[in-house]
Symmetry: C2
Subunit: 308 residues, 2 copies
């Protein structure tokens, strides 16, 4: 049995997870801000509540994994920093080993944990790419069944490949990164650029990532066109991933994945038409995440298993 | 001792290579066209001459590897087809095992062989990217010391990621692939687009990949500017590779690599400024190939060693 922790800006989620990646119990506590000690105590409370709910003994726990929305020191088990939470240099391993004894306590980037969680619940057994569409475009790479970290531990910044040279300014400093077009932020930007063309959109309505999806469902052809422009921006990068990795499977996650086949089917069609791959060869399966928000807990729990 | 064969449109090069990737002897024979039998006999002649020159016994050969500029069937050891050579379905393994006994005979794509050859002669021991700039942009990926082929064997089409959405038409069917800008073909195209701006270029001069390099050396600032535009197109994709893979090392090869530091230094500078990578982390070493044309022979020879 494993413990997986998914740190978010709103809550710390702790889960008890078995070898197969099934969550036996989970518990969420609000995330304390700017306070290392309060943070650690909240995390511990979450773990203890999840263990209690799962009805297992502390001694059954083989390892604990933590997914952090920021930089980690894997060797020393330290959460170095996290966006919008305001902690620094939290010695998570040291703290949790005092509570749970000398078991492995591993820390990892949250996008990598989500990728690993998706991998363990997916059909793929070998080469796998996870892409998550949100404020940015994140992702993770599994090669030969193992999370691929790169030599310096920072690999897998899939959103930061340039699809539009000299295009939109990206937070990373470059211009035209895939994420500036294919993220939900990118969709909102594109919708704003074309708002005059959407006749059913009232001038004072605030634009969100759902706007063109909702209007398209009501029959607005211009909204549909803009939605499809966005889906193509996603598909362009997905084909890039296919041409580089030729994985077994690619899973797309993130809030917008609720739109399901509306997004997925045109992407599959685009990949079939555009991937650099002989007709004789099997193309990767492309799917939308089915486990959504749980991927982070599952992946964090199974970091240790994946490292063996 | 290993035999490596590098099949090209002009010649078949055979080499005797040791465990360290040193070439003990090599021999080139002209490539027979549109004739499977003549092709096999020429290849055999090349091998035998290389063995003779190296002064070794046939029985010392542990494995033979063949790099093909086209599609191969790795499982059955067959060269399925090759661009501009006009053979089809050559049972290379069967043929060579009759001559050399029951040793491994492996077939591989030539770009992957070049990547493997570069890897064995490079500092990198783990994660490595090879990029070759020629008519197109090719490459190969080494992950954890092993050639990465992807699930269907077709991974590593690094030139076929889109850096200019809706840009130049690529032979693969997409528009704006990296190779349409960063290849030598792309350089020639860019030079032609800007030829009116290059004052020292006579109107009847044919443009090649060397044109702007030569004129820039003579002091033409416009030629220099166009040369640098091309180098930036290369650098954009190199940063993409860094952001995805964070390898130990990236080596850039191809005919134009003779230009050395003129190309390399601005790329390193661009990567240092643009890669998505914390200051605290070690960035990949980026270098120009030092072994050039021999990489294919060395890599082909060591496919077997790499597969162990």
């Amino acid at each position: 049995m494993y413990i997986g922790i998914d740190i978010g800006g709103m809550s710390i989620k702790a889960g008890v997870v078995n070898e197969n990646g099934d969550i036996l119990a989970k518990y969420a506590v609000p995330t304390p801000k700017n306070d290392n000690e309060a943070f650690l105590n909240a995390m511990l409370e979450g773990i203890n509540k999840a263990i209690e709910e799962a009805g297992i003994q502390k001694t059954e726990i083989k390892a604990i994994g933590i997914g952090n929305p920021g930089v980690v020191d894997r060797d020393r088990g330290i959460l170095l920093e996290a966006t919008n939470i305001g902690f620094s240099d939290i010695s998570a391993r040291e703290f949790l080993q005092k509570e749970f004894g000398d078991i492995p306590v591993l820390v990892e980037n949250d996008a990598n944990c989500a990728a690993l969680g998706e991998f363990y619940k997916a059909e793929s057994t070998k080469n796998f790419i996870f892409i998550t569409l949100g404020t940015g475009v994140g992702g993770g790479i599994i090669i030969n069944g193992r999370l691929y970290l790169g030599t310096n531990g920072a690999a897998g910044e899939l959103g930061h490949i340039v699809t539009h040279t000299n295009g939109r300014q990206c937070g990373c400093g470059r211009k035209g990164c895939w994420e500036t077009y294919a993220s939900v932020t990118g969709l909102i930007e594109t919708t704003k650029e074309h708002r005059d063309e959407i006749k059913t959109l009232s001038p004072d309505e605030e634009i969100s990532g759902r706007t063109v999806f909702e209007l398209a469902r009501k029959g607005d052809k211009d909204a549909e066109r803009i939605r499809d422009m966005w889906i193509e921006e996603i598909a362009i990068g997905v084909v890039d991933m296919v041409n580089i990795f030729q994985p077994d499977q690619i899973i797309i996650g993130g809030a917008i994945s609720k739109e399901g086949d509306t997004i997925l089917l045109p992407i599959i069609d685009y990949v079939n038409k555009n991937a650099f791959c002989s007709e004789r060869l099997t193309k990767p399966k492309i799917e939308i995440s089915k486990i959504g928000g749980d991927a982070g807990i599952i992946g964090a729990a199974l970091i240790y298993k994946n490292s063996l």
